[in-house]
């Protein structure tokens, strides 16, 4: 009974079911294509930047907005990093500049939306074009490349105990975000704002600043993603990052982050992102023809999300409140004098 309740409680937590499903399909793929496990390291390394974007997208969405610029901003950050490295700046500095680029665009988005009250979709669509355009201009002459820094390439290709460095970096960042969302005051305010901006405002939350914060966070994450991407690719071309935003948002939503705002977590987004990535990888290994790929993955996506929702519903229905708090304290005599 106790265990059963615990079980239902935990599956009712956003992201847990999809994570279960993730494990399921991993097992499935491993069974169908035995070499699957051999490729895990590779495809997750490729996935890491997108996962960071997914978490960034999640933060903004939980706050009740949407950020379309993360993809191209990630690309631009990669470009800036590569460019500065190639032009001989110290590695640490160019990494910093890369991340800063992301933060800057986060701030820009935030200001456009909070100060000028511009619709977030349009504002970030605009910055999507601007950052994408800047990368084109930056990489105009030729593709950006030529980072000689050992340390820089080791960001992704290095490894501790056989586990790629990028895992640790991304893992640390995502953990931090999870903590920030669920345990800190800012996180709580983000959730409040996402659930009901007006009410949060009346309740004494500085909605503007909190919103700004969410965009700065997603921008910065895009910056980090850019740096890792640059490190992995060792070269940056004009269209890098374009379209990542949709993969990221889709990942977050699949993880159970509600576009209505106020629901989800970094871990949930991570689970969703991993789910989509793993799905694609598995289907490729199985050798699904590209022309069928869209249909198959689309189908899998739908099934995944339905599964996730149904399980959560069941969990919420079946998990009972602790019976001790059920009994209402009987009103004492003379409560009303």
């Amino acid at each position: 009974m106790k265990f059963k309740n615990f079980f239902f409680r935990s599956v009712s937590i956003t992201g847990v079911p999809i994570f279960g499903l993730l494990i399921l399909i991993v097992a499935l793929f491993q069974f169908v294509v035995p070499i699957f496990n051999a490729t895990v390291g590779d495809y997750i390394t490729n996935l890491v930047p997108v996962l960071l974007l997914t978490v960034g997208a999640a933060i903004v969405i939980i706050g009740g907005s949407i950020d379309l610029s993360i993809g191209t901003v990630c690309g631009l950050s990669a470009g800036i990093t590569m460019w500065t490295l190639a032009s001989g700046l110290p590695t640490a500095l160019s990494i910093l500049l890369g991340v800063a680029t992301g933060t800057f665009f986060g701030l820009l988005n935030g200001f456009l939306i909070t100060k000028f009250g511009i619709n977030d979709f349009i504002a970030t669509l605009a910055t999507l074009n601007i950052s994408g355009g800047l990368l084109i201009v930056l990489s105009q002459a030729t593709e950006l490349y030529g980072a000689e820094s050992e340390f820089f390439t080791s960001l992704v290709y290095g490894s501790f105990f056989g586990i790629p460095t990028s895992f640790f970096i991304a893992g640390a960042i995502i953990l931090l975000m999870q903590f920030l969302l669920l345990k800190t005051i800012l996180g709580r305010r983000i959730f409040a704002m996402g659930n009901s901006g007006a009410a949060a405002n009346v309740a004494g939350i500085n909605v503007r600043n909190v919103k700004l914060a969410t965009f700065v966070l997603s921008g910065t994450l895009a910056g980090c993603a850019g740096v890792l991407l640059a490190s992995r690719l060792g070269g940056v071309q004009a269209f890098l990052g374009l379209g990542y935003e949709f993969t990221a948002i889709a990942g977050a939503v699949v993880g159970g982050v509600s576009l209505a705002g106020g629901r989800g977590s970094a871990a949930a987004a991570l689970a969703g992102g991993l789910f989509i990535g793993t799905l694609a990888q598995g289907l490729q290994l199985i050798g699904v023809e590209p022309i069928f790929f869209g249909i198959v993955s689309g189908l899998a996506l739908i099934i995944g999300v339905i599964f996730d929702q149904k399980i959560q519903d069941i969990g919420q229905l079946r998990s009972r409140f602790d019976s001790r708090v059920l009994a209402q304290p009987p009103r004492k005599e003379g409560d009303h004098g």
């Binding site: 659930n195 009346v202 909605v207 629901r263 998990s319 409140f321 009103r331 409560d335």
Partner: protein, 535 residues
């Protein structure tokens, strides 16, 4: 303590709605247990009970919003199980829900006729809306409730909460229903409109409609309701014939204790007669205006003082509160807090400076739905439940919430319950708790006890007095003049956004006669009539 249910003897009209043994529970917590009651043709049937007793749940089931776990109800003898509101409405059950349920994007008219629009027949095709016809049908009723012809074309989002409530009532009255359910229609409604509403209820009764009426204002019952069914913890107790039962008896049943005059006792212990000059000034407004809504509002609030603000819907009371909090900007004038001029860019700064507000529109601006009760209580003062000033401690939070849950007897199985799953009154209590927890020096309360049961009402009043007696100051906005009289030292009357009258030293004027006089004054002032004895 069984009452002689004199029903059968006194009333013999046929039973129109027969509710049998309905039960409903959420996550193993019973909201309703074998609730049964019978409504007769042409009867006003009051449904009474403490917060969280299960009234709205029952109504939700009757109107098809929720489905019962067990039990059934018969409408004029035939069993009915509405799967959705449409079914219920089709079979003649109309409902005013406890929480505002109008559509912001639509105009007043569109809201009133939502779902049963009138259509013009054009070339044999029935597609186009007949706005003119709709207007003509509703305008009379609307004007009785003070809704002008033009306001019919204004989007709901433009109105204050009270106006919305009135519109909702008008909407309900335009249905010709067999059963009309009103879930706390009068909460926060002011005198005049109540009387209008009551007239219409009587009128409907005489037309043989069965009315189910949920209210926490027990003093309204007599002379209006015929029968009262009492809920406690999801169970129906007695059905009393109101001709031979007192408020005392009712409250006893509601809370299951022998308390004489629970909730009405407050009259005997008012705040001490006091003289504001010897108290430090906390908050003062100088000619504060907000174009279009407020004009030249000036007053000063002293420590330990309660200023009550009265006025009709749209008078600008809520706006005044919003302007002080910095939620809406003022176009001119100054606000001083403890002598320093303040100019809050948003309510966050107001809270930091020590002003807290309990908003009027509970559903939209009060609760943060989706967050738990505990989270709703702590949200305005998170540092009070966090370590190192930024990490929230769930434990502290839970303890805090549980404390207030006890004090205000918020009915919920757990403080981790989502607040939108709580009963209306319990939600209100949670928000009161939130305000108090922000440890303010000034408390602005817009309709403090709407939807709160009589017992809790006294508790809330108690808390406010306790708050002021500890040196806090409060601004109370209430449409119930009675409530203002009980709480405030001074009453300001607003009309069209400007102060049209002040009644000072309310506390000195205890005698019943004077109370009645004041009420008359306030009413007259807010209605804008000239008075014989000017103040």
């Amino acid at each position: 303590m069984s009452f002689p249910t004199a029903l059968s003897t006194t009333r013999s009209a046929p039973i129109i709605l027969d509710i049998r043994q309905i039960s409903k529970s959420y996550q193993g917590v019973a909201a309703l247990e074998n609730a049964s009651l019978q409504v007769r043709k042409g009867e006003i049937h009051a449904v009474l009970g403490g917060n969280g007793a299960g009234k709205s749940t029952l109504i939700g089931i009757l109107s098809g919003v929720t489905q019962p776990d067990s039990g059934e109800f018969l409408l004029e003898g035939s069993a009915l199980a509405p799967r959705n509101p449409r079914d219920a409405i089709k079979s003649g059950i109309t409902t005013i829900y406890q929480e505002l349920s109008l559509v912001p994007a639509l105009t007043t008219l569109e809201n009133i006729f939502l779902g049963r629009e009138l259509i013009i027949e054009r070339a044999g095709m029935k597609v186009l809306l007949d706005r003119k016809k709709m207007k003509n049908e509703v305008i009379e009723l609307a004007q009785i409730f003070g809704i002008s012809k033009d306001e019919l074309d204004i989007p709901i989002s433009e109105f204050g909460a009270l106006k919305k409530k009135v519109i909702e009532i008008v909407k309900a009255l335009t249905f010709d229903a067999r059963i009309l359910i009103l879930d706390e229609p009068t909460s926060g409604l002011e005198e005049e409109e109540r009387l209008h509403l009551f007239d219409h209820m009587r009128n409907l009764r005489s037309r043989g409609v069965g009315l189910i009426w949920v209210t926490h204002h027990l003093d309204e019952l007599h002379g209006l309701a015929d029968v009262a069914t009492i809920f406690r913890d999801g169970r129906t107790l007695e059905s009393l014939n109101l001709e031979n039962s007192t408020v005392g008896e009712i409250t006893n049943l509601m809370f299951g204790i022998q308390s004489n005059e629970a909730g009405l006792r407050t009259k005997n212990d008012r705040l001490q007669k006091d003289d504001k000059s010897n108290r430090p000034e906390v908050l003062s407004l100088h000619a504060v205006s907000r174009a279009g809504v407020l004009r030249d509002i000036s007053f000063s609030l002293h420590a330990g003082e309660v200023i009550g603000i009265s006025g009709l819907a749209g008078a600008g009371r809520t706006e005044l509160a919003r302007v002080i909090m910095g939620i809406d900007t003022r176009t001119s004038g100054q606000i001083f807090l403890k002598g320093k001029e303040v100019n809050f860019k948003s309510s966050a700064f107001a809270y930091k400076a020590g002003i807290a507000m309990l908003p009027e529109d509970r559903k939209q601006l009060g609760i943060i739905s989706g967050l738990s009760v505990a989270e709703n209580i702590s949200i305005s003062n998170l540092s009070s439940v966090s370590r190192f000033g930024f990490i929230i401690s769930r434990k502290k939070e839970r303890e805090l919430a549980t404390k207030y849950k006890e004090i205000l007897s918020i009915r919920t199985p757990s403080v981790n319950q989502k607040i939108n799953n709580l009963s209306g009154g319990s939600q209100q209590k949670a928000i009161v708790a939130r305000c108090l927890n922000s440890k303010p020096s000034v408390l602005i309360i817009d309709e403090p006890t709407q939807g709160v049961d009589v017992a809790a009402k006294t508790e809330v009043h108690e808390l406010i007095r306790d708050f002021t007696s500890k040196g806090g100051a409060a601004i109370v906005i209430a449409s119930e003049i009675q409530e203002l009289l009980e709480l405030s030292h001074e009453i300001l009357v607003l009309r069209n956004g400007s102060i049209v009258g002040r009644i000072e030293n309310v506390q000195n004027s205890i005698e019943k006669s004077r109370v009645v006089e004041i009420k008359a004054e306030v009413l007259a002032l807010s209605a804008g009539k000239r008075l014989k004895n000017e103040i």
